[in-house]
């Protein structure tokens, strides 16, 4: 079988003992969870590697996502930190604690599927080996003004950390979640396999902000699967600044009438950074709306891949769905690959997508230069302006300030 996939031949995941050893340490877990892990491990082992020409990996230099550099699965729980909150009509806690204290909270969620946009192997591995993660579950209408904050740290050099995270919002609860993926050690070739399942109940709303600022030698897999119920609303905002390579899969499923899904993302690429982003706006019900904007500013030899699909299933009438991908090339070596897609199986729809790739507009640049701004600062200003459309979607001034600061520091 052709390979060069995330699970390469020489990885530790070839060993059958790996899983047996892992479950032995977690014998305290309920039986259904052990069965689930086993099931996922079997799925991983039997799947083999995806063929070289797998469409879901098109344009992706798959060797960069290889797990062959992984020597160990990390079990360090300190890598995950959650914000503290007063008690309320919700559960917010680390997964291990939830499994121990109230396993029923999680048993109904465990079977949630992954986004299934290509990185299946990672999904199976994360489902088999996850040791930490968080659960946020609201039980009734809550209006949370303070965001729930989660900090994901990356593990040791040559280690991978697998995490499963769950958000489940009861009807009419309104919640903001901020996730940071952070790593300070830039020499550390570490890995993160992070899976999020989120369900937005009827009339509920979720704003989820992800700030991915992993160390510059890290490999990040972030797999997000959202479902939005009747009249529910989801805003997902992803800020990609860090890691050497990041594969981000996002699926937003509009499963009942009146659901809305907005997805905004930005990537500022420097050096040899790679963002491989695959998205799906899946319309399963009538009268739903979705909008996605993905912006990438690329300097050095950085590269972005955007593959976005709008899929409208039969019966999903009166769908409004849009998708935009804009790439700004700041150097000659940078590369932007764009695959905006549509699959429309209903006819009462308004759907469109647009993709552009270009350099900084000469006239814009000249205007700034003519005001005495040096070339480098002018480029920086224009790039910031380009990304500002995404940043301004965040409804949190303090957070915006910190993101702007992170972005500006990347230019220095």
């Amino acid at each position: 079988m052709e390979s060069a996939s995330p699970s390469s031949n020489f990885s530790i995941f070839e060993s059958k003992d790996l899983f047996t050893g892992f479950v032995d340490q977690r014998s305290w877990e309920p039986g259904w969870l052990a069965d689930y892990r086993m099931d996922r491990w079997n799925a991983f082992s039997s799947k083999g590697s995806p063929a070289l020409k797998d469409e879901t990996w098109r344009f992706s230099p798959q060797s960069r996502f290889s797990l062959s550099g992984v020597k160990e699965i990390s079990s360090d729980k300190k890598q995950l930190q959650l914000s503290k909150h007063h008690e309320g009509h919700f559960t917010f806690g680390e997964l291990d604690k939830v499994i121990l204290d109230s396993p029923s909270e999680i048993s109904s969620l465990i079977e949630c599927q992954g986004p299934d946009l290509g990185a299946k192997n990672i999904y199976h591995l994360a489902s088999a080996f996850f040791e930490c993660g968080f659960l946020l579950k609201t039980r009734s209408e809550i209006q949370n003004s303070e965001p729930f904050t989660i900090r994901h740290r990356l593990p040791e050099n040559q280690s991978i950390s697998f995490r499963k995270n769950f958000i489940s919002l009861a009807p009419n609860s309104h919640v903001r979640v901020v996730e940071f993926i952070e790593g300070t050690n830039h020499n550390s070739k570490n890995f993160l396999g992070n899976v999020l399942h989120a369900h937005v109940g009827e009339g509920a709303s979720l704003e989820r902000i992800l700030i991915q600022d992993a160390g510059s030698s890290s490999t990040v897999f972030q797999l997000d699967n959202f479902s939005v119920g009747k009249n529910g609303s989801l805003r997902n905002i992803c800020i990609h600044l860090g890691s050497s390579q990041c594969r981000n899969e996002i699926k937003g499923q509009l499963i009942d009438e009146g659901a809305e899904f907005d997805n905004f993302s930005l990537f500022l690429g420097t050096g040899e950074q790679l963002l491989d982003q695959r998205t799906m706006q899946l319309h399963l019900a009538p009268n739903c709306r979705s909008n996605l904007i993905s912006k990438n500013a690329l300097s050095g030899e950085s590269k972005s891949i955007f593959s976005g699909m709008i899929k409208v299933l039969p019966g999903a009438m009166n769908t409004n769905s849009y998708q935009t991908n804009r790439n700004l090339l700041l150097s000659n070596e940078a590369e932007a690959d764009s695959m905006p897609g549509l699959e429309i199986l209903a006819n009462e729809v308004k759907c469109s997508h647009g993709a552009t790739t270009s350099k900084i507009d000469d006239q814009e640049l000249f205007y700034l230069l003519s005001r005495g701004i040096p070339q480098k600062s002018a480029e920086k200003l224009i790039s910031l302006g380009f990304l500002e459309e995404i940043i301004s979607e965040i409804n949190d001034e303090k957070l915006i300030e910190s993101i702007r600061a992170r972005i500006e520091s990347k230019f220095d």
Binding site: K53, L329, S331, M339
Partner: protein, 468 residues
């Protein structure tokens, strides 16, 4: 660019003789013997037989591209197809010498009349071989060559061998390999430097036999500063069983040349139409593919231009109509390989009933190129509630002085538009037809006038029964 004018056609009588039965039949199924048989009939040189046999190996080795294309490809049964059928004739230079049944076919399709009216040359292919081939004499004197593939490779190897199989290598895809092993017919055209053809050359491809596979091979070379328009039309009767049409078309536009390649296909819906079309554009040359796809069960066709010379320009304008049970999987490929190259893609599709139209595109700008531009627009119109459309573009850009712009929309004809037109006295079907014509109108204008009238008629026919 090139205007189609009327001119008098002085029919030259030839003196060839034909049987009415197929004298040559390679039988059913594909194996080495079939390939040898075809090569032998054509009295080909050893290198060509070798080329064919190697292609057969490649065809066998390559999998069907079902990892991205439709699973319907699996329904092609290569073992029941007939790969070569011919009467064993040389193509006639006069319609009067064309066998009666064949002539009648082309007369019903209006070919002789079109030739008289506005064509510089015609080639009419009936199953595997051309039945008629003629070009205006003055063009011959200017050194224009317009012959079939067999004659082209045999009589003018110094011109055609250099480019044959170079624009589209045998191994490009499974069907280009299939074509390379069993090709027959098609047009080989050479236009010498500076010669500008004022009128189009036309080829007509007719599938007549059941379970037949038509594998024509076309190679057009426009030498420096030359200009031509080539038009092809395709039809087949409807059979119960499926028929395969798998052509390879290679275009070479040398420095400053202009090639416009116009296709109007109206296949019956039992035809698998799997065609590979690509052009090489040298410095300051221009290649335009103008493509209208109507009919067939499945069409897979993505005309491409490799923009190899500085300031070259590539364009694909395409219209696709997918009716009940049909899948039009079409698109374009633009590979920018030189500086200051520009490309433009406009694709419009209409899905009617259970029809499905897909757009697949590839735009590639590698690094170290400057001033490359691409513009792509894909618009899809859905007529009925079970109509389907997909868009799968792939755009890969490097370099800080290149720009790409891609836009796609999906829409349907609104009930208010229909009511407005009904209020003026048009019935629902007429209103729908007019809307569809309006949707593709700006592209239809790019077709030569004679074709655009025919196109509008074909669209009206396709729209019949789509409402109510």
């Amino acid at each position: 660019m090139i205007q189609a004018n009327e001119f008098d056609f002085d029919a030259n009588k030839g003196n060839f003789h034909y049987d009415t039965q197929y004298a040559f039949d390679a039988g059913v199924g594909l194996n080495e013997d079939v390939v040898r048989y075809i090569s032998e009939i054509k009295k080909e040189e050893p290198w060509l037989l070798d080329f064919r046999l190697k292609a057969l190996e490649t065809f066998r080795r390559k999998p069907l591209p079902t990892h991205w294309a439709t699973q319907d490809l699996r329904n092609i049964n290569f073992d029941v197809i007939r790969y070569y059928l011919a009467k064993g004739q040389q193509p006639s230079r006069s319609w009067e010498d064309v066998p009666e049944d064949v002539k009648e076919t082309f007369e019903r399709l209006g070919i002789p009349e079109q030739e008289r009216k506005f064509l510089a040359g015609v080639e009419a292919q009936f199953d595997s071989e051309a039945a008629y081939s003629r070009m205006k004499e003055d063009l011959e004197k200017e050194g224009v060559i317009f012959v079939g593939s067999t004659e082209g490779l045999r009589e003018h190897p110094e011109i055609f061998k250099k480019w044959f199989g170079k624009v589209i290598p045998t191994s490009d895809n499974k069907f280009s390999a299939l074509n390379s092993s069993v090709f027959s017919g098609g047009s080989f055209i050479y236009v010498p430097p500076g010669v500008k053809l004022a009128q189009p050359l036309q080829a007509y491809f007719r599938i007549n036999a059941e379970n037949f596979g038509q594998f024509e091979r076309t190679l057009i070379i426009a030498d420096e500063g030359a200009e031509l328009t080539y038009m092809e039309g395709c039809t087949a009767p409807k059979f119960e069983t499926s028929t395969l049409h798998s052509a390879v078309v290679e275009l070479v536009a040398l420095k400053g040349a202009k090639i416009q390649y116009v296709t109007v296909q109206n296949w019956s819906n039992n035809v698998f139409n799997l065609v590979t079309k690509r052009a090489i554009a040298e410095e300051e040359s221009e290649v335009r593919w103008i493509d209208c796809n109507i009919g067939s069960r499945l069409t897979m066709k993505y005309p491409g231009v490799i923009l190899r010379g500085r300031k070259s320009r590539g364009e694909v304008l395409s219209i696709a109509l997918a009716n009940n049970g049909q899948h039009q999987d079409t698109g374009a490929k633009m590979v920018h390989a030189a500086e200051e190259t520009t490309s433009n893609i406009i694709a419009k599709s209409v899905s009617i009933g259970t029809g499905r139209s897909s757009y697949r595109g590839l735009v590639r700008m590698p690094k170290h190129l400057r001033h490359c531009r691409n513009n792509t627009e894909c618009d899809a119109l859905l007529i009925n509630s079970d109509s389907q459309t997909d868009t799968y573009p792939a755009i890969s850009v490097q370099g800080d002085d290149n720009s790409v712009q891609h836009e796609a929309t999906v829409s349907k004809v609104s009930a208010e538009q229909i009511f407005y037109m009904q209020q003026r006295g048009l019935n629902e079907a007429e209103a729908m037809s007019l809307c569809v014509n309006g949707f593709v109108n700006d592209l239809i204008r790019e077709f030569p006038m004679e074709y655009s009238v025919e196109l509008k008629r074909l669209i009206d026919l396709e729209m019949e029964g789509s409402v109510g």
